[in-house]
Amino acid sequence: MMEPEIVIKADNVVKSFGDRTILDGISLEIYKGETFVIMGGSGCGKSTFLRHVIGSLKPDSGKIFLLGKDLSKIDENEMDKVRMKIGMCFQSSALFDSMTVGDNVSIGLREHTKLDKSVIDIVVKMKLEMVGLRGFENLMPSALSGGMRKRVGLARAISMDPEIVFYDEPTAGLDPIVAGVIDKLIVDLSKKLNITSVVVTHDMKSVFSIADRVAMFYEGKVLEIGTPEEMKRSKNPMIQQFTSGSPDGPIRFFQQKDDYLERLVA
Protein backbone atom coordinates (compact mmCIF):
# COMPACT_ATOMS: atom_id res chain seq x y z
CA MET A 1 0.00 0.00 0.00
CA MET A 2 1.24 3.49 -0.89
CA GLU A 3 2.22 5.85 1.90
CA PRO A 4 -0.23 8.74 2.11
CA GLU A 5 1.16 12.10 1.02
CA ILE A 6 1.57 14.46 3.97
CA VAL A 7 0.37 18.01 3.19
CA ILE A 8 0.53 19.42 6.74
CA LYS A 9 2.90 18.40 9.49
CA ALA A 10 3.13 19.95 12.94
CA ASP A 11 6.15 18.99 14.99
CA ASN A 12 6.00 19.77 18.72
CA VAL A 13 4.42 23.22 18.26
CA VAL A 14 4.37 25.40 21.38
CA LYS A 15 2.74 28.81 21.73
CA SER A 16 2.09 30.97 24.78
CA PHE A 17 0.34 34.30 25.21
CA GLY A 18 1.71 35.87 28.38
CA ASP A 19 1.77 33.16 31.04
CA ARG A 20 -0.92 31.09 29.28
CA THR A 21 0.34 28.19 27.20
CA ILE A 22 -2.19 27.76 24.37
CA LEU A 23 -0.38 25.12 22.32
CA ASP A 24 1.65 22.71 24.41
CA GLY A 25 3.60 20.49 22.02
CA ILE A 26 1.19 19.78 19.18
CA SER A 27 2.37 17.12 16.73
CA LEU A 28 0.21 15.74 13.94
CA GLU A 29 0.17 14.91 10.24
CA ILE A 30 -2.61 15.58 7.73
CA TYR A 31 -2.80 13.61 4.49
CA LYS A 32 -3.65 14.75 0.98
CA GLY A 33 -7.34 14.45 0.13
CA GLU A 34 -8.60 13.64 3.62
CA THR A 35 -11.09 15.56 5.73
CA PHE A 36 -9.29 16.09 9.01
CA VAL A 37 -11.27 17.47 11.92
CA ILE A 38 -9.76 19.17 14.93
CA MET A 39 -12.25 19.04 17.77
CA GLY A 40 -12.15 20.29 21.30
CA GLY A 41 -13.85 22.66 23.67
CA SER A 42 -13.63 26.43 23.58
CA GLY A 43 -10.12 27.63 24.44
CA CYS A 44 -8.44 24.29 23.79
CA GLY A 45 -6.14 25.84 21.19
CA LYS A 46 -7.73 24.51 18.01
CA SER A 47 -8.30 27.88 16.30
CA THR A 48 -4.88 29.12 17.44
CA PHE A 49 -3.36 26.02 15.90
CA LEU A 50 -5.20 26.74 12.64
CA ARG A 51 -3.77 30.26 12.59
CA HIS A 52 -0.28 28.79 12.93
CA VAL A 53 -0.83 26.40 10.03
CA ILE A 54 -1.90 29.22 7.69
CA GLY A 55 1.10 31.30 8.78
CA SER A 56 -0.82 34.04 10.62
CA LEU A 57 0.95 33.20 13.88
CA LYS A 58 4.44 31.88 14.51
CA PRO A 59 5.12 29.23 17.16
CA ASP A 60 7.45 29.93 20.10
CA SER A 61 9.06 26.60 19.30
CA GLY A 62 8.42 23.63 17.05
CA LYS A 63 7.86 23.49 13.31
CA ILE A 64 5.01 23.51 10.84
CA PHE A 65 5.32 22.16 7.32
CA LEU A 66 2.63 23.24 4.85
CA LEU A 67 2.64 21.68 1.38
CA GLY A 68 6.25 20.68 1.90
CA LYS A 69 7.43 24.10 3.05
CA ASP A 70 8.93 24.67 6.49
CA LEU A 71 7.05 27.83 7.50
CA SER A 72 9.86 28.88 9.82
CA LYS A 73 12.27 29.04 6.88
CA ILE A 74 10.31 30.89 4.19
CA ASP A 75 9.96 34.65 3.69
CA GLU A 76 6.67 36.53 3.20
CA ASN A 77 7.04 36.33 -0.58
CA GLU A 78 7.23 32.57 -0.53
CA MET A 79 4.48 32.42 2.10
CA ASP A 80 2.21 34.37 -0.25
CA LYS A 81 2.83 31.72 -2.94
CA VAL A 82 1.87 28.98 -0.47
CA ARG A 83 -1.23 30.96 0.55
CA MET A 84 -2.35 30.95 -3.10
CA LYS A 85 -2.74 27.17 -2.72
CA ILE A 86 -4.95 27.32 0.36
CA GLY A 87 -8.47 28.56 0.99
CA MET A 88 -9.90 29.76 4.28
CA CYS A 89 -13.52 29.61 5.39
CA PHE A 90 -14.00 31.85 8.40
CA GLN A 91 -16.40 31.30 11.27
CA SER A 92 -18.05 34.67 10.66
CA SER A 93 -17.98 34.16 6.84
CA ALA A 94 -15.96 37.42 6.77
CA LEU A 95 -17.73 38.77 3.70
CA PHE A 96 -17.24 42.37 2.61
CA ASP A 97 -20.69 43.86 3.13
CA SER A 98 -20.03 46.67 0.65
CA MET A 99 -19.36 44.22 -2.19
CA THR A 100 -21.73 41.99 -4.13
CA VAL A 101 -21.62 38.24 -3.65
CA GLY A 102 -19.79 37.95 -6.99
CA ASP A 103 -17.14 40.48 -5.99
CA ASN A 104 -16.67 38.72 -2.65
CA VAL A 105 -16.11 35.39 -4.40
CA SER A 106 -13.78 36.85 -7.02
CA ILE A 107 -11.61 39.05 -4.80
CA GLY A 108 -8.64 36.67 -4.85
CA LEU A 109 -8.83 36.23 -8.61
CA ARG A 110 -9.02 40.00 -9.16
CA GLU A 111 -6.16 40.74 -6.77
CA HIS A 112 -3.75 37.95 -7.66
CA THR A 113 -4.27 36.99 -11.33
CA LYS A 114 -4.24 38.57 -14.77
CA LEU A 115 -7.46 36.88 -15.83
CA ASP A 116 -9.94 38.93 -17.89
CA LYS A 117 -13.01 40.12 -16.02
CA SER A 118 -15.21 38.08 -18.37
CA VAL A 119 -13.31 34.89 -17.42
CA ILE A 120 -13.46 35.75 -13.71
CA ASP A 121 -17.23 36.25 -14.00
CA ILE A 122 -17.54 32.72 -15.40
CA VAL A 123 -15.38 31.27 -12.58
CA VAL A 124 -17.67 33.03 -10.07
CA LYS A 125 -20.76 31.46 -11.66
CA MET A 126 -19.10 28.02 -11.57
CA LYS A 127 -18.16 28.35 -7.89
CA LEU A 128 -21.60 29.65 -6.88
CA GLU A 129 -23.15 26.69 -8.72
CA MET A 130 -20.96 24.33 -6.67
CA VAL A 131 -22.29 25.76 -3.40
CA GLY A 132 -25.90 25.87 -4.61
CA LEU A 133 -26.16 29.64 -5.07
CA ARG A 134 -26.84 29.93 -8.80
CA GLY A 135 -27.80 33.47 -9.80
CA PHE A 136 -26.74 35.07 -6.50
CA GLU A 137 -23.72 36.97 -7.88
CA ASN A 138 -25.36 40.40 -7.95
CA LEU A 139 -26.92 40.25 -4.47
CA MET A 140 -25.41 42.04 -1.49
CA PRO A 141 -24.39 39.94 1.56
CA SER A 142 -26.97 41.76 3.69
CA ALA A 143 -29.70 40.05 1.66
CA LEU A 144 -28.46 36.59 2.63
CA SER A 145 -29.20 34.23 5.52
CA GLY A 146 -26.39 32.97 7.77
CA GLY A 147 -26.21 29.68 5.88
CA MET A 148 -26.04 31.43 2.52
CA ARG A 149 -23.27 33.69 3.78
CA LYS A 150 -21.31 30.58 4.83
CA ARG A 151 -21.79 29.16 1.35
CA VAL A 152 -20.53 32.40 -0.24
CA GLY A 153 -17.51 32.16 2.07
CA LEU A 154 -17.01 28.61 0.86
CA ALA A 155 -17.28 29.66 -2.81
CA ARG A 156 -14.63 32.30 -2.13
CA ALA A 157 -12.41 29.76 -0.36
CA ILE A 158 -12.42 27.49 -3.43
CA SER A 159 -12.28 30.31 -6.01
CA MET A 160 -8.61 29.74 -6.79
CA ASP A 161 -8.74 25.93 -6.78
CA PRO A 162 -6.84 25.47 -3.53
CA GLU A 163 -5.16 22.24 -2.53
CA ILE A 164 -6.26 22.68 1.08
CA VAL A 165 -9.33 24.41 2.53
CA PHE A 166 -9.41 25.35 6.21
CA TYR A 167 -12.76 25.73 7.91
CA ASP A 168 -13.06 27.48 11.27
CA GLU A 169 -16.30 26.40 12.98
CA PRO A 170 -18.21 26.13 9.67
CA THR A 171 -21.52 25.19 11.28
CA ALA A 172 -21.43 27.54 14.28
CA GLY A 173 -24.65 29.50 14.68
CA LEU A 174 -26.55 27.54 12.02
CA ASP A 175 -29.73 25.52 12.52
CA PRO A 176 -29.25 21.72 12.27
CA ILE A 177 -30.61 21.46 8.72
CA VAL A 178 -28.42 24.24 7.33
CA ALA A 179 -25.47 22.85 9.30
CA GLY A 180 -26.12 19.50 7.61
CA VAL A 181 -26.13 21.22 4.20
CA ILE A 182 -22.76 22.84 4.94
CA ASP A 183 -21.35 19.49 6.14
CA LYS A 184 -22.52 17.80 2.94
CA LEU A 185 -20.96 20.57 0.86
CA ILE A 186 -17.61 20.16 2.62
CA VAL A 187 -17.62 16.42 1.94
CA ASP A 188 -18.84 16.80 -1.68
CA LEU A 189 -16.27 19.44 -2.55
CA SER A 190 -13.47 17.51 -0.90
CA LYS A 191 -14.26 14.34 -2.82
CA LYS A 192 -15.11 15.95 -6.18
CA LEU A 193 -12.24 18.38 -6.28
CA ASN A 194 -9.78 16.18 -4.34
CA ILE A 195 -9.26 18.96 -1.81
CA THR A 196 -7.74 18.34 1.60
CA SER A 197 -10.12 19.77 4.21
CA VAL A 198 -9.09 20.79 7.69
CA VAL A 199 -12.09 21.55 9.86
CA VAL A 200 -11.98 23.05 13.32
CA THR A 201 -15.22 22.42 15.17
CA HIS A 202 -16.86 21.41 18.41
CA ASP A 203 -20.04 20.31 16.62
CA MET A 204 -20.01 16.56 17.27
CA LYS A 205 -22.67 15.85 14.63
CA SER A 206 -20.38 17.47 12.06
CA VAL A 207 -17.38 15.53 13.30
CA PHE A 208 -19.06 12.18 12.80
CA SER A 209 -20.60 13.03 9.43
CA ILE A 210 -17.58 14.57 7.67
CA ALA A 211 -14.32 13.38 9.21
CA ASP A 212 -11.95 10.82 7.79
CA ARG A 213 -9.79 11.36 10.88
CA VAL A 214 -10.19 13.41 14.03
CA ALA A 215 -7.75 14.98 16.46
CA MET A 216 -9.07 15.79 19.92
CA PHE A 217 -7.40 18.84 21.47
CA TYR A 218 -7.48 19.54 25.18
CA GLU A 219 -5.56 22.28 26.99
CA GLY A 220 -3.20 22.78 24.07
CA LYS A 221 -2.37 19.10 23.65
CA VAL A 222 -3.50 16.39 21.24
CA LEU A 223 -5.29 13.80 23.35
CA GLU A 224 -5.86 11.31 20.56
CA ILE A 225 -6.03 11.03 16.76
CA GLY A 226 -8.21 8.46 15.01
CA THR A 227 -11.21 7.78 12.82
CA PRO A 228 -14.62 8.87 14.14
CA GLU A 229 -15.35 5.22 15.00
CA GLU A 230 -12.10 4.95 16.95
CA MET A 231 -13.03 8.13 18.82
CA LYS A 232 -16.44 6.71 19.71
CA ARG A 233 -14.77 3.58 21.09
CA SER A 234 -12.01 5.51 22.87
CA LYS A 235 -11.42 4.56 26.49
CA ASN A 236 -10.07 8.05 27.23
CA PRO A 237 -12.58 9.53 29.69
CA MET A 238 -12.04 13.05 28.31
CA ILE A 239 -12.91 11.93 24.79
CA GLN A 240 -15.86 9.94 26.12
CA GLN A 241 -17.11 13.03 27.93
CA PHE A 242 -16.66 15.28 24.91
CA THR A 243 -18.27 12.93 22.39
CA SER A 244 -21.24 12.34 24.70
CA GLY A 245 -21.53 16.04 25.58
CA SER A 246 -21.73 15.26 29.28
CA PRO A 247 -21.22 18.14 31.75
CA ASP A 248 -19.80 15.66 34.28
CA GLY A 249 -16.36 14.21 33.81
CA PRO A 250 -12.67 14.99 33.85
CA ILE A 251 -12.97 18.03 31.58
CA ARG A 252 -13.50 21.04 33.81
CA PHE A 253 -15.75 23.78 32.46
CA PHE A 254 -15.59 26.07 35.46
CA GLN A 255 -12.75 27.72 37.32
CA GLN A 256 -12.08 26.44 40.80
CA LYS A 257 -14.00 28.36 43.45
CA ASP A 258 -10.81 29.23 45.30
CA ASP A 259 -9.27 30.65 42.16
CA TYR A 260 -12.36 32.85 41.64
CA LEU A 261 -12.17 34.28 45.14
CA GLU A 262 -8.44 34.86 44.83
CA ARG A 263 -8.99 36.75 41.61
CA LEU A 264 -11.64 38.97 43.19
CA VAL A 265 -9.23 40.21 45.79
CA ALA A 266 -6.12 40.21 43.58
Binding site: L109, K114, V123, E129, D161
Partner: protein
Protein backbone atom coordinates in the same frame (compact mmCIF):
# COMPACT_ATOMS: atom_id res chain seq x y z
CA UNK B 1 3.54 29.65 -26.75
CA UNK B 2 0.93 27.30 -25.22
CA UNK B 3 -1.22 27.25 -28.41
CA UNK B 4 -0.12 26.18 -31.90
CA UNK B 5 -2.52 26.76 -34.74
CA UNK B 6 -2.88 24.38 -37.70
CA UNK B 7 -5.26 23.71 -40.53
CA UNK B 8 -6.81 20.45 -41.76
CA UNK B 9 -9.56 20.10 -44.36
CA UNK B 10 -10.12 23.83 -44.19
CA UNK B 11 -10.73 23.67 -40.45
CA UNK B 12 -8.74 25.58 -37.84
CA UNK B 13 -7.16 23.31 -35.26
CA UNK B 14 -5.67 24.72 -32.06
CA UNK B 15 -3.18 22.50 -30.25
CA UNK B 16 -2.97 23.52 -26.61
CA UNK B 17 -0.01 22.35 -24.53
CA UNK B 18 0.79 22.05 -20.84
CA UNK B 19 -1.35 23.40 -18.06
CA UNK B 20 -4.30 25.74 -18.48
CA UNK B 21 -4.40 27.42 -15.10
CA UNK B 22 -4.54 30.79 -13.37
CA UNK B 23 -1.08 31.69 -14.68
CA UNK B 24 -1.37 30.45 -18.27
CA UNK B 25 -5.07 31.03 -19.09
CA UNK B 26 -4.54 34.64 -20.29
CA UNK B 27 -1.86 33.42 -22.76
CA UNK B 28 -4.04 30.54 -23.93
CA UNK B 29 -6.90 32.94 -24.58
CA UNK B 30 -4.94 35.48 -26.70
CA UNK B 31 -4.62 33.45 -29.96
CA UNK B 32 -8.31 32.50 -29.69
CA UNK B 33 -9.22 36.18 -29.34
CA UNK B 34 -7.49 36.77 -32.70
CA UNK B 35 -9.35 33.89 -34.36
CA UNK B 36 -12.62 35.15 -32.91
CA UNK B 37 -12.00 38.73 -34.03
CA UNK B 38 -11.67 37.40 -37.61
CA UNK B 39 -14.88 35.38 -37.05
CA UNK B 40 -13.25 31.98 -37.67
CA UNK B 41 -16.31 29.78 -38.28
CA UNK B 42 -15.12 26.37 -37.04
CA UNK B 43 -12.41 25.63 -34.49
CA UNK B 44 -11.21 22.31 -33.10
CA UNK B 45 -9.27 22.49 -29.84
CA UNK B 46 -6.97 19.48 -29.53
CA UNK B 47 -6.24 18.95 -25.83
CA UNK B 48 -4.03 15.84 -26.14
CA UNK B 49 -1.00 17.66 -24.70
CA UNK B 50 -2.88 19.38 -21.90
CA UNK B 51 -1.81 17.97 -18.55
CA UNK B 52 -3.96 20.02 -16.18
CA UNK B 53 -6.92 22.38 -16.33
CA UNK B 54 -8.13 24.45 -13.38
CA UNK B 55 -11.32 26.49 -12.99
CA UNK B 56 -9.82 29.49 -14.75
CA UNK B 57 -8.87 27.21 -17.66
CA UNK B 58 -12.40 25.85 -17.87
CA UNK B 59 -13.77 29.40 -17.67
CA UNK B 60 -11.41 30.47 -20.47
CA UNK B 61 -12.79 27.70 -22.71
CA UNK B 62 -16.35 28.75 -21.80
CA UNK B 63 -15.50 32.36 -22.70
CA UNK B 64 -14.07 31.23 -26.06
CA UNK B 65 -17.26 29.24 -26.76
CA UNK B 66 -19.45 32.17 -25.71
CA UNK B 67 -17.59 34.58 -27.98
CA UNK B 68 -17.75 32.17 -30.93
CA UNK B 69 -21.46 31.66 -30.46
CA UNK B 70 -21.98 35.43 -30.74
CA UNK B 71 -21.28 35.21 -34.49
CA UNK B 72 -22.53 31.65 -35.06
CA UNK B 73 -19.10 29.99 -34.82
CA UNK B 74 -18.74 26.34 -33.83
CA UNK B 75 -16.23 24.84 -31.40
CA UNK B 76 -15.27 21.24 -30.72
CA UNK B 77 -12.93 19.90 -28.05
CA UNK B 78 -10.98 16.74 -28.87
CA UNK B 79 -8.39 14.33 -27.47
CA UNK B 80 -9.26 15.01 -23.85
CA UNK B 81 -7.62 12.78 -21.22
CA UNK B 82 -9.99 10.93 -18.89
CA UNK B 83 -8.75 13.06 -15.99
CA UNK B 84 -9.67 16.29 -17.74
CA UNK B 85 -12.95 14.84 -19.01
CA UNK B 86 -13.97 14.03 -15.45
CA UNK B 87 -13.38 17.67 -14.57
CA UNK B 88 -15.85 18.69 -17.29
CA UNK B 89 -18.33 16.21 -15.84
CA UNK B 90 -17.97 17.44 -12.26
CA UNK B 91 -18.58 21.02 -13.38
CA UNK B 92 -21.45 19.94 -15.69
CA UNK B 93 -19.59 21.50 -18.63
CA UNK B 94 -19.63 18.30 -20.68
CA UNK B 95 -23.20 19.24 -21.65
CA UNK B 96 -22.14 22.71 -22.79
CA UNK B 97 -19.28 21.69 -25.07
CA UNK B 98 -19.20 19.49 -28.14
CA UNK B 99 -16.60 16.99 -26.90
CA UNK B 100 -15.33 14.39 -29.37
CA UNK B 101 -12.83 11.56 -29.01
CA UNK B 102 -10.22 12.73 -31.48
CA UNK B 103 -9.37 15.09 -34.31
CA UNK B 104 -10.69 12.65 -36.96
CA UNK B 105 -14.11 12.56 -35.33
CA UNK B 106 -14.08 16.34 -34.98
CA UNK B 107 -13.31 16.77 -38.68
CA UNK B 108 -15.82 14.16 -39.86
CA UNK B 109 -18.63 15.64 -37.78
CA UNK B 110 -17.77 19.20 -38.80
CA UNK B 111 -17.77 18.65 -42.56
Amino acid sequence: MPVKIGNRNGLTICYVEGEIDINTSPDVKKPFDKLISSKTPKIIVNLSKVTYVDSSGLATLVEILKNMRSYGGKLKLSNMSSKIKSLFEITKLEKLFDIVADEEEAISTFV
